[in-house]
């Protein structure tokens, strides 16, 4: 399974790569901002996108809308990975799911699998 992690914080990208790659044995690709995230989604066609809400410039909501507006990326499931303070806004956007930070690095992969299976 290939997961695209879009988050401006390198701590998040590292932890997600550590968790999904070493624990979940998934292939992880990263983007540090919304624009690059949309471009990588188009070129890499991941099985899932993990998307942060709070990013400078093109934030999570704008990135989500851009992904939905593009036929090449519209069908890729998106799960928001965000802190509690932004969770309500994330849920209102209608993504496949919302996971909260901080996350358990040992269970992130299984939580993602559960969302995709639901």
């Amino acid at each position: 399974m290939k997961v695209l992690v879009i988050d401006d914080e390198k701590d998040v990208r590292f932890a997600a790569r550590f968790s999904l790659g070493r624990v979940g044995r998934m292939r992880v690709i990263e983007a540090a901002n919304g624009e690059d995230g949309v471009a990588r989604a188009r070129s890499e066609q991941p099985d899932l996108i993990l998307l942060d809400m709070m990013m400078p410039g093109m934030d999570g909501a704008a990135t989500f809308h851009a992904l939905r507006a593009d036929a090449r990326t519209a069908s890729i499931p998106v799960v928001f990975l965000t802190a509690k303070g932004m969770a309500a806004e994330a849920r209102e956007l209608g993504a496949r799911g919302v996971l909260l930070k901080p996350f358990n690095p040992m269970s992130l992969a299984s939580e993602i699998a559960a969302i995709l299976a639901s």
């Binding site: 701590d11 709070m54 509690k84 303070g85 901080p102």
Partner: protein, 99 residues
């Protein structure tokens, strides 16, 4: 989580978090419309990732910081002196957690 994996994550986090603490302390010397968004992002980062890296108290402290600053941002208000003093106290607690 097995101890070696957890310790690897903790080590990865510590140095960057110490730099972030220093950046926040510098920003708290001048809290205004320009620095408030930067503080918001730092507080959000502490709340969001401390526990993931094995520092649950940092996430809890970050939650307090993020909650208070988001309330100000949403009401377009600036923090008073007592709030900034509390933020400084919380940053000192975060710094202690990283030792």
């Amino acid at each position: 989580m097995s101890d070696p994996l957890l310790e690897e994550l903790r080590e990865q986090y510590r140095d960057g978090a110490r730099v972030r603490v220093a950046e926040v302390e510098a920003l708290l010397e001048r809290v205004d419309a320009e620095t408030l968004p930067q503080l918001t992002r730092h507080f959000h980062a502490f709340a969001g990732m401390g526990a993931t890296y094995g520092f649950p108290r940092i996430s809890a402290l970050g939650d307090e910081l993020e909650g208070s600053i988001l309330a100000l941002v949403r009401s377009e208000a600036m923090p008073d002196a007592a709030t900034v003093a509390r933020w400084r106290d919380v940053m000192r607690e975060i710094a202690r957690e990283l030792c």
